[in-house]
């Protein structure tokens, strides 16, 4: 859907809002998750973001992409949410585990291991790598994590990130470079 008309819009109808949620719901949810590292908070925040977008569409001037605008709302909403000590201390718990521990080696006697042929082996390796890289990325300090993800996951340019975070392009470049360096180093250590 082409959202350019929103730059002049004063309100959003349900159809447009639904399309926005279809197109950007995951981006918003993931960004909230990257900032909070909590799936529960991301659940709440992502919904709040679209309610705020609905209420504040008149403020959208089309100066940035709709995605960047929504990500900015996500960032502001997250910070507002987390600023409250009450909410931080009593509303949500820790991030939930996404998977259980892998079974013990003894079960290998029973079930054929996935890598029965090279492609299956690659598939297993690929899945493990996905988890590993997210362990590394989510453990980064926030100032590196956020910029790295805005650049790699959301494909925002340096100047877009600088505008969104209200910092200089130089700082963005520096943090991006350092963030990538940290991930690369840990990634190589794990890959060895």
């Amino acid at each position: 859907m082409d959202y350019q008309f929103l730059a002049q819009a004063q309100t959003i109808d349900n159809y447009t809002l639904s399309s926005m949620m279809d197109d950007y719901g995951n981006d918003v949810w993931n960004y909230a998750y990257f900032l909070t590292k909590s799936a529960e908070q991301a659940d709440e925040l992502s919904q709040e973001v679209f309610i705020r977008a609905y209420s504040g569409v008149a403020h959208y001037r089309g100066e940035c992409s709709l995605k960047t605008w929504l990500l900015t709302i996500t960032r502001n909403t997250t910070f507002t949410y987390r600023k409250s000590r009450f909410f931080r201390s009593s509303l949500w718990g820790e991030t939930l585990p996404m998977e259980t521990k892998r079974g013990g080696s003894s079960q290998r006697v029973m079930i054929a291991e996935q890598p029965a042929h090279p492609s299956a082996e690659m598939e297993v390796m690929r899945k493990e790598h996905v988890h590993e890289i997210w362990d590394i990325v989510l453990a980064l300090p926030k100032k590196f994590r956020e910029i790295l993800l805005l650049n790699l996951k959301y494909e925002l340019t340096t100047s877009e990130i600088a505008e969104m975070l209200k910092i200089s392009s130089g700082t963005v470049k520096s943090r991006l470079s350092r963030g990538k360096g940290k991930v690369r180093k840990q990634w190589e250590e794990r890959s060895e």
Binding site: N26, D43, M98, I111, A112, K153, R184
Partner: protein, 427 residues
Amino acid sequence: MKQKDEQWEKEIRKGPFALSPFTEDHKQNVLQQLELMKKSEEGSLGDGLEQSYGSSRPVRPQVGNTSHKRRLRRRSLVAGTGALVIAAGLFLWIWEDGQLVKPVIEQVYPTAALQLPEGLNTNLLTDKMKRNVATTMRDDLGKQLKITKVEDLTVSGRIYVEAGNESEKEYAQIWLDATTGNLREVGMRREMQPSELEHRYLRQVPSLLQSIGSTPTLKPASVQRFVSMKQGELEPISHTTLALENETGDGYGEIVWQQDQAVSISGDLSLDQVSNSVLADAKDAVKVVFGETSPKLKGVSRTKDDEIGRDVINLSFNDHYLVQMIVGEETKVYSVIGENLYRSDFTNWDEVEAYHQEIYDVKESILREQVGAMIKEVFNVNLQGYTLHREVDNPGIAIFELESPKDVIWVRYNEDVKITMITRGEL
């Protein structure tokens, strides 16, 4: 180096999770809340600040001698707060199954969500008790049930609170300390639609199924939740069981969570996930024990139970035979199981007892003759060194035991000494 960078960068672009985290439920919640906001706005059109202020007077705190400016600010604040409380009440009243607004209001004012009808002994409940009851139902059961009974149990020094109806799907019993208001015991249960299951559980489902090798596309079919806190325990523990099935109804899975942690995962596996050697051994066992010449593998399922520390694989053949393998930290059990063909045409209890006696009295030599060769072939074990034990309460079960090294073989048989199960290992 560049190639490696590209690889991990690609992984990041894919996102951290396999499936969409922002679901249709999230979307519907947003749309529903906006509808309510619109209705609320329409309802309040034409109402001035004074009217709002007036309507919120009962909850207005006392204001002392303050400046006019400060009073106005407070009045605005009170008016705003009042409107918020009214809006919250409206949401709670209209939108019973709300996912966003209701939990937030409940989190801030847990007792506001308590469904406490008039006519009950509500004066027995202190604020702390109300809060404990409300938060226990909210956090552990996931729903506020309507309270149906409040009683003072003077002998045990407790206050008893009952919610829902015992004969229905949602029911709660909570015992509180009459002096401190603390929880003493809790028993709650609830059956719910899969759509009602909290997202923090649902979002784990694909990866949990994948973790046992099952198909991650199984769909939630039903949910049951039990919450228990026995005397002496510190907090309620919830167990949530989600049954899953595929669209054709012939695939099955089940996940059990204790609190938010998955403790048991079951699911069907594809047939090609069984190694050739395991399959060949299982087929041989079915042939030897049941005489089935060409057993065909029909289904494979797995249960990984972290609570009891066991991993169970089931291979079913020809819809009649099952080969089950259980691996625990210190146990390993291998079973070859067929249909249990006991007689069932009894007309009275005497006939049953006579039948049990007949089975129990089967001579040891006949049993050994019948199963010795099978056991030798399936497990490569000579039964001669094993001692036979039989239990009166289990007349159709023969237990062959070896003291050193410790080994146990269980045999189930019927009156014709037809073998219906052989199991090796500690059950």
